[in-house]
Symmetry: C2
Subunit: 204 residues, 2 copies
C-alpha cells in the first residue's frame, strides 16, 4: 500500500488523490496540519529535505515528493498519460506551466486569503494585487488554449488536466473571478464529469 503524506485542503495533494482514485490505486493518507509546521521539522525533513507535501511513500521506503512527479509515476502506462511522445511533451508543458506560472499565484492567493490567520496575512497584503495580476495572466493563457481545445494534452483527459484542475477549481477562494474565462469554466465542468471524479473534500 502506498502512503500519501498530505494536507487535505492542498490542491497539490488533491491532484494525487484524484488521479489515484481514477486509476484505482489505493492510498493510505497521512495528514499534516496547515499551520503546525510539522513538515519543516527534522523528522519530516529527514524524509523530504524540501519540507513540502505531497510526498508518496512506498512500502519499501522509497519517497517521491512533487505533486506532478507523483501524477506521472501513477499514470505511466494508463489512459491518464498520453501514449505518444508529442502528447507526453504537451502534458509536461502544461504541468510545468502549472507549477511555474499558475500555482505560485492562484494557490498562494488562496492560502493567504482563505487559510492564513489575519495577523500573518497583514504584512503580505500588499502582494495581493501581484498575485491577482499574475494568476489572471495564467488563467488567460488557459482560456486561450481552451478556446479551441477540450483538453490540455493528447486530445483527451489526462494528468495535465488534473494538475491544472487542482487549484483552478478553487481559484475563487483566492479572490479570482472565473466568469471572465468561460472556456475555463466549461473545462472545469468537463473534468468534474469524468468517471471516478472526487472532490477536494473527499478522502481517498
Amino acid at each position: 500500500m502506498l502512503t500519501l503524506h498530505q494536507m487535505q485542503v492542498s490542491g497539490n495533494c488533491y491532484k494525487v488523490r484524484l488521479a489515484a482514485r481514477q486509476l484505482g490505486v489505493p492510498l493510505t493518507l497521512f495528514d499534516y496540519g496547515l499551520h503546525d509546521g510539522t513538515t519543516r521539522k527534522p523528522a519530516y525533513l529527514a524524509k523530504n529535505p524540501n519540507g513540502r507535501v505531497p510526498m508518496l511513500e512506498f512500502e519499501d521506503g522509497r519517497l517521491l515528493p512533487e505533486s506532478n512527479a507523483i501524477l506521472w509515476y501513477l499514470a505511466e502506462g494508463t489512459p491518464l498519460l498520453p501514449a505518444d511522445r508529442w502528447g507526453r511533451a504537451e502534458a509536461l508543458q502544461w504541468m510545468f506551466f502549472e507549477q511555474y506560472s499558475h500555482e505560485p499565484y492562484v494557490a498562494v492567493a488562496r492560502f493567504w486569503l482563505k487559510f492564513a490567520p489575519a495577523a500573518e496575512l497583514e504584512p503580505r497584503r500588499h502582494l495581493v494585487p501581484e498575485w491577482h495580476a499574475k494568476g489572471n495572466a495564467a488563467l488567460a493563457v488557459m482560456q486561450t488554449h481552451l478556446d479551441d481545445h477540450d483538453w490540455f494534452a493528447g486530445g483527451r483527459y489526462s494528468i495535465a488536466d488534473i494538475a491544472l484542475y487542482g487549484y483552478t477549481h478553487v481559484a475563487a477562494d483566492g479572490g479570482f473571478d472565473l466568469s471572465a474565462y468561460p472556456a475555463v469554466v466549461a473545462w472545469l465542468k468537463r473534468v468534474a464529469a469524468q468517471p471516478g471524479h472526487v472532490t477536494i473534500e473527499e478522502r481517498w
Copy 2:
C-alpha cells in the same frame, strides 16, 4: 530542422542547447533580446501566449514551450532519460523542484543583479534577501542529495542534472556563494566533464 526561440544568457535556454548538443540534435537558434520585450508582443504571444523562452518550433509548425518539457521531448528513448519508471519519476521530481523551488530565486537573483538596468533593480532591491534565503535553501536541498548520490535521477547523468545545472553553475552571478555546498561544486565538475558538454556562451 528544429528552431529554438531563445535568449543566449538564459539558463532555461542553455539547458536545451546543452541537451541537444549531447544528443546530436541540430537546432537553428532564433534570438531575442533580454530587454526589448519582443516575447511579450503580439507576434510572439500568438505562438506562446505565456510570453516566455525557450520555445521549440518544429518544421510542421508545432510549438513546445517550457524548458523542462523540451528536455523531456528531446531525451525520450536516449540515455539522458532514465529507462525505468522509478528513474523517470526521480528525474521529474528534481525537474519540478528546479522550476518551483530553485529557478524563481537562483535565476531571478541572477537576472536582476547581473542583467537588469540599475534603475529597474532599485525598486526590487528589498527582495534580494528573500531570493538569497530561498535560493540557498534550494542549494542546501541539492547538497543533501549529492552528499550520497553522484547524480539526481536513475543513478546516472540525465536531463535532471541538465535542468539543475542550467542556473546552478552561474549562481555566483546572483550573489550565491557555492563554496558552502562542496557536494554541489563537485557535481558541477562531473556535469562539465560529460562528453559533448558545451558552455552557456557557446552557440549550438
